[in-house]
């Protein structure tokens, strides 16, 4: 599962999607965001478990919105990245970028 500050691939995607969506980040929106960005189909159950885990690690906070008739009267689970989460994303991103830097030409060639 990686060390304290590193993120799994899927966790990475989820956090990025949450950041991109800002205030409108909730389950179904995140699923669509990931699908539009990566083409990956995310089952609702998987996303929910990952959200639970990220929340357990302190990277996310969630709150329930208003009951919504379009959702069978259930509220949305809005999530937001915490400071700690932001730090983790930043660290993961810079680690990735530093590993990738200088490889652009090779990747473009093949």
């Amino acid at each position: 599962m990686g060390g304290k500050l590193f993120l799994g691939e899927f966790e990475h995607m989820v956090l990025a999607a949450v950041l991109r969506l800002g205030d409108a980040a909730y389950g179904a929106a995140i699923i669509k965001e990931i699908r539009n960005g990566t083409g990956r189909r995310v089952p609702s159950g998987s996303l929910s478990i990952t959200l639970d885990r990220l929340e357990g690690k302190g990277y996310l906070e969630s709150r329930l919105g208003q009951p919504d008739p379009n959702r069978g009267g259930r509220p949305k689970r809005f999530v937001a990245v915490t400071k700690q989460g932001l730090r983790a994303v930043r660290q993961a991103r810079s680690a990735m970028l530093s590993l990738w830097s200088g490889l652009e030409t090779r990747l473009d060639q093949s």
Binding site: Y26, G56, G72
Partner: protein
Amino acid sequence: MIPRPPWLAQALTALFIPAGVAREGVLGDLHELYAERRARSGRLVSDVWYVYEATFAVIRYTVERFTRRLPRRGGRQKSGAGNGAGPGPARRWSGLLESTAQDLRYGLRLLKNSPGFTLVAAITLALGIGATTTIFSLVNSVLLKPAPGMRNSAELVKVRTVTEEGELEEDMSWPNFLAYRDGTGGVAELAGVSLATVSVSGMDQAGVTMGFLATHNAFEVMGTRLELGRSFLPEEDLEGGSLVAILSHGTWKRRYGADSSIVGKTMRINQHPFTVVGVTEPGFRGPITIIEVGVWLGMGAAPVLFPERNQTDRAESWVRPVALVRKGVSREQLESAYNVVSSNLRAEFPDDNPDHGIVVQSNAALSPRAMAGALAITLFLFLVSGTVLLIASINVGSMLLSRAERRGKEVALRLALGAGRGRVVRQLLTESILLFTLGATGAVLITAYATRLLSAYQLPIELPLVLDFSVDHRALVFSLAVALAAGTVFGLTPALQVTKPDLNTTLKADGSSGRGPKRWLRGAFVVLQVSGSTLLLVVAGLFARGLSQANSADLGFDPNNVHFLSSEVDFHRNYTSEEAQQLLRDILERAAALPEIEALALTNSPPVTLGSRSSAYTVAGNEPVLTEDWPETDYATVSPGFFETLRIPILQGRGFNESDRSGAPLVAIVNETFARRSWPGESPLGKRIKWDSSDGPELQVVGVARDAKYGSLGEDQRNHVYLAHEQFPHADLVLLARFVGEESVLANHLAEIVHDLDAGLPIDANTAYEDIMGIALLPSRATALMTSIFGCLGLVMAAIGLYGVLAYNVTQRTREFGIRVALGAQTGVVRAAVVWDGIKLVAIGLVIGFTLAMLLARSLRSLLFGISPADPVTLGGIALVLALVAAGASYLPALRATRADPVAALRAE
């Protein structure tokens, strides 16, 4: 309107995901995404998607819970593992959970990694489990589901009277009912009901409604509540009390628009004004749950509506008692209390008391005799659908076996490295149970759709059926239990097989010797499948042949272009006999003038519709001494046009004519069989028949009609007597009309005529005669349809299974064939050997299947319309089909085996 996702999947998901943000989030998201999907694609696709997502979420969360990653209550996730507790039972449990979770994850991954395999297996299982679950849902709704709104159904008992002959009767007379109600010192509360078909008019046009007359305590005894108003009062039980009605919830909503001020208003029932005093709670249908009851009437109305249901005659039985047993009173105590009353009644009224004892029975939805019939049908349907399930399970079982063998090395390695056999078996078992559970999920979906189709069924007559076959928790538990049982059996067998081998050979060679127990198991699988599908096909084939026989059978009359109109005049209106006859004559006369009519007739018992009439008779010169020993014959009263309308030829003598009216000599027309049996070798014309009893009338035979079918298409030839309608008048209106031109036009004209003569007279049926005959054919048609569907399913699955097994055997023996071909064996010989292998298995299966089918078909004889269970056409055809399937399924792999380059085959090792 926002579409609602399948509630079942929703409920399950809610059950398995911990309450709080996660559950709200997942369910809400799924709902939202489902709605979007519904807008894009169809319902089926969306439902399947939802079930998949829901199942996935349930499994993920279950795994998560087992592995304790999930905070269960508060922050418990950190405690437990590190607190140094010894390996106590809790620890062992958590170890078991942990390893089960591991197995589940591993199994899920395997299923996900071979989606083709998973999909085929899941669909196969869904069909198999779906077949049994659908049947279960039908049985459930008829036998198991409690009647809605009957809260006391557990404490209710049937009280049946014993006749002088020792037979059980369901109804008792009103005076006797009162005696039983008041004579037991309160060990039970006795209520009475009586089914009443009535015509309701008031707010809109007349309509026939099934209703119940009920005593004031009936609602309390059944334990139902009222939506509006009050229950009946004690004084309304009695003749002369005010006429009161309680509307059913459905009637209230449909006919009166859920008018909340309905209580106190007046409605007309059979032309009598009734005051509405209440409305029943929604769903409540009373003791007969498959019929929509429209209205409940106070018992005091019985003599007003139905003259024979009077409250004074002790010999006239029409009240059906139902008792609520007081707490602590046993059924035996109640029975003896009632029997005391019964013997007192016998002593007090020796002449006119029909009750000779009381039997208390459980309040099952069906009477014992109907129950026995229902159980037989249930058993048959379960047998048939269970066979489909067996075939499906075997297919998946052999797929699992192949997979397990392919993983033989992995398994052997794990065993060699010290994994317990049990542990490995558990791993394999987990996979198969996962797969079967997936199948069960699909099965529930299939069942939900199938039962929705079945529930919508309505008869082509005015009898409002309520068939609630919907999937409930029992059906869910059933399908899950079936899946678990089948998954265990068919997962355990391969799992035990592959974990058995001695490690050396498996590790050394490739575990594909193709001999030994595994091959034997496959052989057994094939034999089982072939016998199963033979069984299904034979039964389906017999039914199909029987039906086609029935359709082409000589009915003895011609139902084509005959229209059927019926109304039970005496039920709906208080006509005197003379008035009713005049009405029938008027209808007949006016209808005869219609341009569409070629011929028309009245009868009280149209042939090959449910129900028939019979009477005792005797012929002169052959009279039994006792009236009880008189033979019985079916009969029908018909008007003169009858034989022309149904095109039944009169073979000797004459048909009825206008001169056969009351006052004229009584005449009868008999059928050939009656004539042959009663007066062998003599002319029946002019012979006399004593009718009904020794005091009864004497009839003179004036004609002989050709034999026909009367009760059902499958019957043996029966005696039948036709009486002249005018000489034996009855008030049931059944009008048969042979017509030319457009039937719907005729139907409208006839309805106009009836309503013109009496606007309040409701029409029960106004449709093609063949539709009405279809009702009588329903049991056979339904069985034929079901067995055909199951038979085709079974055949396709068995063919695929057979091909799979044989093809697999051949690939396993590629090396052997290579060697044989290299050593100079003729390819033809090798091929023949492979095909022979297949044929052998199929032959054994056929023999077993035929034997089972014979045994089964023998008990279904009455539904087969004279087709012998050993019908050579059916059996031969099926043997041929299966032989072709077997030959094809084994020849293709044989071809492939011998085409392979022997050198390559050997080298591949």
